[in-house]
């Protein structure tokens, strides 16, 4: 059985007529952390959004090519008409550069994706919230203040909360777009430690500008330049 979790072939992406990605073909192994590096504006973040189709809400953007991800043991074309968007995004979760907790309590933030998925059973929700917070190494820090507004957490805690929120639906792929760029060194260490621990369960793609971080956490480095992959 192949170890490939994500396979991208001949990917082209343009925004407002400007080419952002050109002929990108690459595969990513499961249960590994791959760092996407390169200068700003070369298409790394855009590449991430092509994997869970998050770019589709961007006006004046077009994409060509093939993206396949192994989901529930089967290689699926994510742009196939039979692929439900909500289902894809539950399995291919994304965490953004700046922490973006929703304006609600810590517990409600984590429970939000479950609510969207139609999970109403309180005991189940509470259990999954705790599990996700534990996976994100945040449980012990917030267990006594689950009803506090999530925006009262520190920046690092907020980012781990966002990771926990992405984990609650048990995704198979986790995409992170410069997840530590707005964090201090201690918070960065906490997020890096978390990601290293998570790779046993997940396939992780992380956009990073920090060379030390790339060396510390990644199993493989893919370098982007001028809209295409030049190394890795």
């Amino acid at each position: 059985m192949s170890n490939t979790k994500i396979r991208v072939e001949n990917l082209y992406f343009s925004y407002r007529g400007r080419s952002v990605l050109r002929d990108v073909s690459v595969g990513f192994a499961r249960n590994a952390i791959t760092a996407l590096t390169g200068p700003s504006g070369v298409g790394k973040s855009t590449f991430l959004t092509t994997l869970n189709r998050l770019w589709e809400s961007t006006r004046d953007a077009t994409m060509q090519g093939r993206v396949e991800i192994e989901l529930q043991g089967r290689m699926r074309d994510v742009y196939d008409r039979g692929m439900p968007l909500t289902e894809l995004r539950k399995k291919v979760a994304m965490v953004f550069q700046a922490p973006n907790p929703l304006p609600m309590s810590i517990a409600k933030n984590i429970a939000f994706p479950l609510k969207l998925a139609g999970e109403r059973h309180r005991t189940v929700v509470a259990g999954r919230v705790e599990q996700a917070l534990r996976m994100a190494n945040l449980w012990h820090e917030v267990k006594d203040r689950l009803q506090d507004d999530a925006r009262t957490l520190s920046g690092g805690q907020q980012q781990r909360l966002c990771i926990a929120r992405a984990l609650v639906l048990e995704p198979e792929v986790l995409l992170l777009d410069e997840p530590t760029s707005s964090l201090d060194p201690a918070a960065t260490d906490a997020v890096e430690e978390l990601l290293t621990g998570l790779k046993e369960r997940l396939t992780i793609l992380v956009v990073s500008h920090y060379l030390e971080q790339v060396v510390r956490i990644s199993d493989r480095v893919v370098r982007f330049a001028d809209g295409t992959i030049v190394a890795g």
Partner: protein, 286 residues
């Protein structure tokens, strides 16, 4: 040290603010002074809760208060879901070109004179209501509320759209990345975050409905009675003022319209204070 032109501008602005405040207070004083003879003779409360029967010496405005509340609330009930639907379409559902075009159309609708809505109501809606329900002339609380509802819908829609526009994009991105559909984003993120702004829109639209004169005058039938059905005619405070205005200047009928004015003034004042209080609460929360 301030330059001369800055000082002059500051003083002029201060003077303008003082003048508008003084005019607002002067209007209230004028209403009270003009209505005072009637209020002294019959007391303030009886004027508010007693019926309008000038030949029996009763100049109460109770039927008009009920008429105003009924028509404006009914119009709000109609306009709220319409505005919600329009704002959802503009803010979240429609493609950008359709959304822009639809928004311009709604903005245009806010500028249409009330009398045009009234004409459309008289020539199109009144016959339909008359034929459909076979009750009376077709000029009724329902007819006025329908047209008034359509008239306040653009105002409310634009307020709702502005409230949606103010929601930080990061919240919507987060919801989208978690698999929320557009409808789920609306229900679980946009509505809870926009509710204060939306409530402001509802209150201001209510203020517009209460203060409107022409629609009620042209379409409500103007019968001085407490309506017991939406198909019955009713008279609003503003329509009453317009209709009684022609009475003798010294007559109690004429004096009663100032009581109507005071009630409308106090209502507007209450709405303004509620909206302001909500705005301050929002600022504190932020």
């Amino acid at each position: 040290m301030k330059k001369l032109h800055e000082l002059v501008a500051e003083r002029l602005l201060c003077l303008s603010a003082l003048a508008s405040s003084a005019i607002t207070l002067a209007i209230l004083a004028f209403l009270v002074v003009m209505g005072l003879p009637l209020m002294r003779a019959g007391g303030v409360l009886p004027l508010v809760y007693s019926p309008w029967a000038p030949f029996q010496g009763s100049f109460g405005i109770f039927p008009m208060i009920v008429g105003t509340c009924a028509i404006s609330l009914a119009s709000l009930v109609l306009a709220f879901p319409l505005s919600l639907g329009c704002s959802f379409l503009i803010a979240a559902v429609a493609p950008s070109a359709v959304s822009r075009g639809f928004r311009r159309l709604i903005e245009l609708m806010t500028g249409i004179p009330t009398v045009v809505y009234g004409f459309v109501g008289i020539f199109l809606l009144v016959p339909i209501v008359r034929e459909l329900f076979r009750s009376g002339s077709g000029m009724s609380l329902l007819t006025a509320a329908l047209v008034l509802g359509i008239m306040i819908t653009p105002t409310m829609t634009l307020f709702f759209c502005d409230s949606f526009d103010r929601i930080p994009k990061s919240y919507l991105d987060a919801a989208e990345a978690l698999g929320a559909s557009r409808t789920q984003q609306l229900l679980h993120v946009m509505l809870p975050l926009a509710k204060k702004g939306m409530l402001t829109g509802v209150l201001l639209a209510l203020g517009r409905a209460v203060g409107d004169t022409l629609i009620a005058l042209m379409l409500a039938g103007n019968a001085v009675q407490v309506p017991t059905s939406v198909l019955e005619p009713a008279r609003t405070l503003t329509a009453h003022i317009a209709l009684v205005m022609a009475a003798d200047y010294e007559s109690p009928e004429f004096r009663s319209i100032f009581t109507c004015g005071i009630v409308l003034y106090l209502f507007t004042l209450t709405v303004t204070f509620v909206v302001r209080a909500m705005g301050s609460a929002k600022d504190e929360a932020a």
